[in-house]
Symmetry: C2
Subunit: 136 residues, 2 copies
């Protein structure tokens, strides 16, 4: 299941992408419009800032805004930052690889085999989808 963190993060990004003028939007506005706990959203946006797609400004008239064009924001990055690894098991993860301790041989493991396929298909979707594709 997708975490609410990711869900809210995606909604916030979409909200920012929909703005005509690219001036900062306060967290409070996004939270109110999208029905999200403000404090929770605060930490999510802070996390998202690490992607480099999001800028912020403090003080009055401050808030969050997109630095890049929505079409330049791929879902691979967004999902990895918010949800973590795209792979369902660490032994098939590209960015978070770890060996399974209970598995003697990766090559002959049925779970590995299946999850490799699933990862590839998910990755293809995320790589070919940008924030622009999610706008109405």
């Amino acid at each position: 299941m997708l975490s609410k963190k990711t869900k809210y993060g995606l909604k916030a990004l979409t909200f920012l992408a929909k703005q005509d003028k690219k001036e900062p939007i306060p967290i409070a506005d996004i939270a109110a419009q999208e029905n999200i706990s403000q404090k929770f959203l605060e930490s999510i946006l802070l996390t998202l800032r690490r992607t480099g797609y999001l800028g912020s400004k403090k003080g009055k008239g401050g808030g969050y805004y997109l630095i890049k064009d929505p079409s330049e924001i791929p879902m691979t990055t967004v999902m990895r930052v918010l949800e973590g690894p795209i792979a369902m098991v660490s032994c098939v993860s590209l960015n978070f690889y770890e060996q399974c301790e209970d598995c003697p041989d990766e090559q002959s493991c049925s779970v590995h085999k299946l999850m490799l396929k699933v990862r590839d298909s998910a990755l293809e979707v995320y790589r070919n989808t940008t924030l622009a594709d999610l706008l109405p």
Copy 2:
């Protein structure tokens, strides 16, 4: 992340599919070979029996065995029984559909849009993969 329940269930199914003779294998044997807690595996196999692909026999010489050929056991069923919905949000689930309570309009929801794609791609993998494809 994939739950250990699903992981162990897949390993058990593969183990049964690898047997030359299709005679019953005791839970204890599978648990020992695959490094799984026996009691935990017991409940997993009980769950898997509901798919109709797995048969069991009580008493001495008893155990679990596959009823169908591995090539007739699709991953869609296995994953749904063990892991639950294939969709990452309930509003795009085929078998477990539920409306999101915080979302006013599904059609214009960016999360919905993205997760629909992800579900479709995962579904294609699971539909086109049978237990036979996971054997070494």
